[in-house]
């Protein structure tokens, strides 16, 4: 992901993400109709759900690259996996906070402990937060191997969170994306899709920035070692 012309790729991804975000904000606030039931509060949905799906995708990427690391022992796969977990956690924190604000506006309370979606999503977030505790407890190849195994094991919690609300239908959290399609009019769905693309673009942009920084950091460390050896 950081091999050839990384700067140019980052510029293209970043510009596309910025354009998509601007378009999504315009569409959500100026074009998409207001929800008949919730009114303007429903506008939180577009980025809240898009970021939630983005965080679960980030954890999926971490799992895939964890498997790839175990198969190839390529350090770059470990870097992509760890970076994905970091981005996923950042997204998940935003989801919990924006969801809590939406809950207060819609249900009159900041948090509902009996709702499976809220609780399972929090469990996913805490599980992945433990990833970095584990990562900092080991060094070298062991650290990468443990991280890869943990990223694969922790991914088991993601389907649990995704399907929890579908299984427990009696609870308060609404289900928008069902197996028979999206539970909303096309005039809203199109702007949700743009928001989702913007979030995926943000994920790719942050991923490239992080990998570039790690690459620069490693290069500097190599030079330092070389200079120290020469001195």
């Amino acid at each position: 992901m950081t091999e050839a012309r990384p700067g140019r790729r980052l510029a293209v991804t970043g510009a596309a993400t910025a354009a998509l975000t601007a378009l999504a904000v315009y569409g959500v606030f100026f074009v998409a109709p207001e929800d008949a039931d919730q009114g303007i509060i429903q506008k939180i949905f577009y980025f809240h759900v898009a970021i939630a799906i983005g965080s679960l995708l980030a954890f999926a990427v971490a799992c895939v690259y964890g498997i790839r690391y175990l198969r190839s022992r390529d350090e770059r796969h470990d870097e992509i996996s760890a970076t994905s977990v970091g981005i996923g956690i950042g997204f998940a924190v935003l989801v919990v906070i924006t969801g809590s604000i939406w809950a207060k506006a819609s249900w009159g309370t900041w948090w509902v402990w009996t709702d499976p979606r809220l609780v399972t999503f929090l469990v996913v977030l805490l599980l992945y937060a433990a990833y970095f505790v584990l990562r900092s407890s080991a060094e070298g190849e062991r650290r990468m191997r443990y991280s890869a195994i943990y990223s694969i094991a922790a991914f088991a919690s993601v389907p649990l969170s995704f399907y929890s609300v579908r299984v427990a239908r009696s609870f308060v959290h609404p289900v928008v994306l069902t197996s028979s399609g999206a539970n909303m009019p096309n005039t809203m769905l199109v702007w949700f899709a743009v928001s989702q693309l913007a979030v995926i673009g943000a994920f790719l942009t942050i991923m490239q920035v992080e990998l570039l920084q790690r690459r620069a950091d490693k290069a500097l460390r190599r030079i330092k070692l070389r200079l120290e050896a020469a001195a």
Binding site: F47, K104, L227
Partner: protein, 60 residues
Amino acid sequence: MSTGAQYVVAAYGVILFGLLMYVVVLGLRTARLAREAELLARLAEREGDPDRPREPAATP
């Protein structure tokens, strides 16, 4: 501003705040990289200086 609109502003404000915090962290990390690069550049320049006093070789 209606109560509903306040919540919407708060939610999108949190996202913007998160993004800005990330930019600040990125800036701090870039500053650290720049500092290290400058230090290494100075070290490399000193290595290339022929007048630099050499450390005596270690005796076995």
